[in-house]
Amino acid sequence: MEYKLTFKDYSKALTKGKLLGLKCKGCGNITVPPKMTCQECGGTDLDIVEVKKQGKIVTFTNVNVAPEGRQNEVPYIIALVKLEEGPWIMGNLIDIDPATATMDLIDKEVSIGFKVFPGDKFSPGDQARPVFSFL
């Protein structure tokens, strides 16, 4: 069975300002980021759809110890955002001094953009990641 929406295509769309997901014809739920099957019911009859680039922060952390090769990025905030359509995605919260991050961030509405992680010796090539800005 051919993969409907690959990482490469999802990532490329993100860099063109589109956040793509998969809508299940069986249960109606939307899966983002993409998988072979629906995250809710395992269904395989899926349509590629564009989802709103908007959601709410559900949790976050301010990272001060980075992996090898990414020390120049600290401090940075990683957040999980719940999209209006239901799925959660992970990315970086920008537009804030990481040191000022508190529990008040939770439930804040954000819009979704992107930034490219150029990869390292363990990861092949460019990988677009979502970035979140306050609405």
């Binding site: 949790t59 301010n62 110890v65 959660w88 970086n92 529990m103 992680f117 990861s123 990641r129």
Partner: protein, 390 residues
């Protein structure tokens, strides 16, 4: 299915960076385990070896084959298990299944890791490989960051103010260090205070340095045999009576289940059902406290406490010896250390000695049933239940 007994254990000290190779570490633990049984390495019919990052630590993949050869168990089938920090628990589970099935009577199982030898920077990078490499690592996800996010989520979901939660988390580390003092194999044998934890360097908010287990080097090994063989070896066998294992998707895919890890609940149920027991029957537990918050999350999903209440249990001493359920009296990953590939086998070794009454100052008197819980990354969970066999 036949009954399967643990009849021997070996355990190197868990330490900061060592100069011994992974094979040397594992061979030391393996020979101790085999010696305890009176058997010989050549009697072992198979090796199940947990090793996670040998490729990155030493440029050594396929360590299982050389490890078998190193101890003189020539040409036996040897299999490596990689399930992140749960690697050797998966190895124990598979070894159990092979002996229970009747295919083998005597097998060697264990794990080894040199996580400390990698240094913090490379270890942080390679531990981040236990997250989704394409959809989550690009955001700079580290393993502590994953549990840091779960801590904030826990605070919000269960309405425990962060400041209060932080104090409860600190108590987890304080308890583990207090028990680590009486474990001669532990990496840290010193007590710490709540203030030490709360004044520590902020690794990834809200986790401070002493909320996190260390990087460690070490190995642990066990000999598993059929019930019939066990009778020839010891009067005090410890039987594995319950096994469970489950998996899950990337962290974001687990969404509304979080901060609970659904896989843990699936795995624990499988193990409890097979053993025919429930959480209240467990006398002693070693669970996966890679971070202080991870202990609370684990203890709740294993059924020991209500959701959102485990922190209070630690504060009230319910997790100490003499409390409702003694947890991590070995010192846990926090104080004993966490050489990831060896951790599961080490937890099982602790339960084995607890059930045999051999733990000295940290002995849980009269313990008959013990449980181990091991988490690999955000997706692999293994639960093992052991019972005193005499």
């Amino acid at each position: 299915m036949r009954k399967v007994a643990i009849v021997g254990t070996g355990h190197t000290p868990f330490t900061f960076a060592t100069e011994k190779t992974s094979i040397e570490l594992f061979s030391e633990a393996a020979m101790d385990a085999i010696d305890e049984t009176g058997l010989k390495p050549k009697d072992m019919q198979a090796l199940y070896l947990g090793n996670c990052l040998g490729d990155f630590t030493e440029g050594q993949a396929m360590i299982q084959s050389y490890a078998a050869n190193d101890i003189g168990a020539f040409h036996i089938p040897a299999t490596r298990f990689e399930g992140a920090c749960a690697s050797s628990s998966l190895a124990v589970r598979d070894a159990f299944i092979w002996v229970a099935s009747g295919y083998y009577d005597m097998v060697l199982v264990g794990g080894v890791e040199r996580a400390a030898s990698m240094g913090t920077s490379l270890a942080t990078r390679t531990f981040a490989m236990f997250t989704d490499s394409h959809y989550e690592y690009p955001a700079g996800l580290t393993f502590p960051a994953m549990f840091a996010m779960l801590a904030h989520l826990y605070s919000k979901r269960y309405n425990v103010p962060l400041e209060k939660l932080k104090e409860q988390m600190a108590q987890v580390s304080v308890q583990s260090h207090a028990y680590g003092v009486s474990n001669p194999k532990a990496q840290f044998r010193k007590e710490i205070t709540k203030e030490n934890v709360l004044n520590g360097f902020m690794v990834t908010s809200p986790l401070q340095l002493l909320d996190c287990c260390p990087f460690s080097d070490g190995a642990a090994a066990l000999v598993l045999v059929s019930e019939e063989k066990a009778k020839e070896i010891t009067d005090k066998p410890v039987f594995i009576t319950g096994i469970g294992q489950a998996s899950s998707g990337r962290l974001s895919a687990q969404k509304d289940d979080l901060p609970r890890l659904r896989a843990r609940e699936e795995s624990a149920k499988e193990a409890y059902d097979l053993a025919g027991i429930g959480p209240s029957d467990v006398d002693v537990c070693e669970l996966h406290d890679c971070f202080s918050i991870a202990s609370l999350i684990a203890a709740e999903s294993l059924g020991f406490f209500e959701f959102g209440k485990a922190g209070e249990a630690w504060e009230n001493g319910e997790t100490k010896i003499g409390g409702k359920i003694p947890i991590n009296v070995s010192g846990g990953l926090k104080a004993k250390g966490h050489p990831i590939g060896a951790t599961g086998a080490s937890q099982v070794a602790e339960i084995y000695h607890q059930l045999r009454g051999e733990c000295g100052e940290r002995q849980v008197e009269g313990a008959k049933i013990g449980l181990t819980d091991t988490l690999g990354g955000d997706g692999v969970i293994c639960t093992l239940i052991m019972e005193k066999g005499w």
